[in-house]
Symmetry: C2
Subunit: 448 residues, 2 copies
């Protein structure tokens, strides 16, 4: 009856996963993106799986971390952060601020460590749940809903990668204008039943993206819409877009970079809303909400942003925040400060979607559909893909995460990583763009 929860083995498998040519303000997704699959084995032979970012800087932290886990209890989740601190001390390469820029917000040594912790934490929770016969959500205090809603994550995209035949091809075709975006949204709706839509912006001049959101609003009247230019705009541009789209947007996501600029946009939106004596309802009069997964991505960034009322919705990413239990803590902080919460997604596979779904089911103040890239990923490492019905993923009640690793698929994707000459082991959307446009340089901020 008593289980031996001692960790006896940790396996780290870096992989490369096919990714479509999705556009963002930095460039275009490469044909393959790195992920790291974590497996944790207990003395009883139970295996738990986790997933996180797979770029080299994550792998370099994950390896010593894995070594330190041997002999610990799989239930010792608080202790993972102590281990992370030890790894930090050992790994002299990763200390202080590591600014790699890009789309993942501030990159500090702490945040890298937390992204690594998240892969191990999810694997521990999966193993613990399987050992105790409990679903992961029960280990997080129990689900508050049976399904979790996701939004359709729309991207401007090309039909093919600039690398040509060296890449996987999908059948989605291009989307580079309002009609293409609406067509993509229709297909998302037909296939998965999504009822809310997020458009990744920052790709075309704001007027074109405003037109695309307007086209979505006409095609899907009353459905929640979001636009996310990844901080590509100035304060003035952000205010202009907010003014033009305020009546149809659920929220505007990271229109501009950094808490001071976001705080200024938010303050001026509130001011404008208060000055508007028109027909607006109470919520609208509070100003169009700003959401972020760029200026609040660590606990250290919360105090300034919340005391300045810079953001109204935090899109948590359990990788950034150090796992599912930290995500619950973030949600509690948001609840306490009257800030909304939802979830961000970067390219990920089914393990992370399952993890997101478990934790999302336990968060009381989850009032917005979560983002997920998952529909764009044609490959996975699971025996069965997770499915969206009516835009929702059902919360599994099976022990652990409720997913099963497919070792053959994992081996194929690992082989691809192993065979890579190194050029795809670090995600670099600007490098991919330079294949199409040799003159491409990462745009200055603000771009518009």
């Amino acid at each position: 009856m008593t289980r031996d929860l001692t960790i006896t083995e940790v396996r780290l498998t870096p992989i490369l996963v096919a990714d479509p040519p999705l556009l963002n303000t930095q460039g275009v997704h490469q044909p393959y993106t790195p992920r790291l699959i974590v497996e944790i084995v207990t003395a009883d032979g139970i295996t738990g799986v986790g997933e996180t970012y797979g770029d080299t800087k994550y792998l370099e932290l994950a390896r010593p971390f894995a070594t330190k886990l041997i002999g610990r209890q799989v239930s010792d989740l608080n202790g993972l952060f102590t281990v992370a601190d030890e790894v930090a001390v050992d790994g002299a390469r990763v200390t202080g601020q590591v600014d790699v820029g890009g789309l993942r917000g501030v990159q500090t040594a702490d945040k890298l460590r937390l992204s690594v912790v998240s892969g191990f934490e999810v694997a521990c929770l999966d193993a613990l749940g399987k050992s105790l016969g409990q679903p992961v959500h029960a280990l997080l205090g129990g689900k508050l809903r049976d399904t979790v809603e996701y939004s359709a994550y729309l991207f401007y995209r090309w039909a093919d990668h600039p690398q040509g035949v060296a890449a996987e091809k999908d059948d989605w075709g291009a989307a580079v204008d309002p009609a293409g975006v609406v067509e993509q949204a229709r297909r998302f709706t037909e296939r998965y039943g999504f009822t809310s839509f997020k458009l990744k912006g920052g790709v075309f001049p704001p007027d074109e993206e405003i037109a695309a959101v307007r086209a979505l609003a006409e095609a899907f009247p009353g459905h929640p819409l979001r636009l996310d230019p990844n901080g590509a705009w100035s304060v003035e541009t952000s205010l202009k877009v907010a003014e033009e789209l305020g009546d149809v947007l659920e929220y505007l996501e990271d229109p501009t970079l950094g808490t001071p600029a976001m705080a200024e946009v938010a303050a001026r939106l509130r001011e404008a809303a208060r000055g508007d004596s028109g027909e607006g309802d109470g919520e609208r009069r509070a100003g169009l909400p700003l959401a972020t997964n760029m200026c609040v991505t660590t606990f250290a960034e919360i105090k300034e942003a919340f005391t300045r009322d810079a953001v109204q919705v935090v899109l948590s990413d359990h990788h950034y925040w150090g796992g599912l239990r930290n995500t619950q803590q973030l949600a509690a902080i948001c609840r306490t400060f009257g800030v909304g919460v939802s979830m961000h997604s970067n390219t990920h596979l089914g393990i992370s979607l399952a993890a997101m779904t478990h934790v999302a089911s336990t968060v009381p103040n989850l009032h917005h559909a979560c983002d997920s890239h998952y529909p764009w990923q044609s490959e996975d490492v699971l025996t069965e893909r997770l499915t969206f019905e009516n835009g929702r993923v059902t919360v599994s009640d099976a022990p652990g995460l409720g997913v099963e690793l497919d070792r053959d698929k994992l081996a194929v994707l690992h082989r691809r990583w192993f065979d890579d000459d190194g050029s795809l082991r670090e995600r670099d959307d600007a490098a991919a763009m330079r294949i199409a446009d040799p003159e491409w340089a990462t745009p200055p901020v603000p771009r518009w």
Copy 2:
């Protein structure tokens, strides 16, 4: 192997527990104080125990709450708050602000509900831990330390209750002056090994209490000292005491009532510290920290207090905050905002001390010894009392809380509650004081 975690029975046992004649700014502890013992039984016959406040207003909420738990899963801890909301809707008596005043901070319907939830949450965690073969700390992510430090909770007190022979008598004798307080501290140290000391103040004029703390500082040089007048002082008095005791206090607890007054004291202490070009070290120059378990006792009170830097240490009480998992969330919020955390205690028994010890062992940012009344309680409902060694309680690794209910003892204390004419079922320190002093009225605030 798979457990049936369904709740099949809930038992509520109100009791009266002997309490010594401890003095505070409201009056004196009555000879007996009400507590509620909660037992939750699962389909597998596992019983979990919890403990909370036992005044009638808590019992009235606990009864419908207990009924609603039947058929739910003992692992469904997040759902307890949903149940609490339902009870609130049903229980028309407890809505909106319920101001009963006293020592427990703001009294709202929400806070009453959370205090009731905590008793059920701890009982569920105990039952869940026993069912899964895991200690409660493992259900909270695992202990970060093997023992938890407590402080000696010193009280001005009389030798006997004014009720005379109708009450239990202990052998501690009176302590109504500096010498008495030092003698009490010595005895605490000899018996339990405590190395830090908290004096409950607000009883005598500030100069007398300053003298008592000075006497403690001389008798126990270098040991952490705290003084807690339960908000009895004005801003000016608070500043005067801070000035006189700043060099020996670890923190000053609730010198004055309410966040605005606390914020003013804190701001002026910081100002004075900055202006002090003397030999003070960095921490001292930041100003004497203020601690609270009165102006921040609910999540709703956090935003104002933290954005105004009104408090530097929050003394969580898992009863107020809705249980052990909420206490962890509070600690995460404090960590995020650079506010210290420790734990408050009201009169309680061993179940709550065990619960405090489990959660305290999981909180990374616990940098102050916790308070506990437990040494003052000569009675308990456990087969074995918890013990302090070197001022510390060892974190149990047994399944659940690691305590066992003594049904005979429970029956005796319940019989006492049952036989009471009602006069002791509501804790009322002012009523007890009126037996000694018929003219006694709850002092105005600020008292000094």
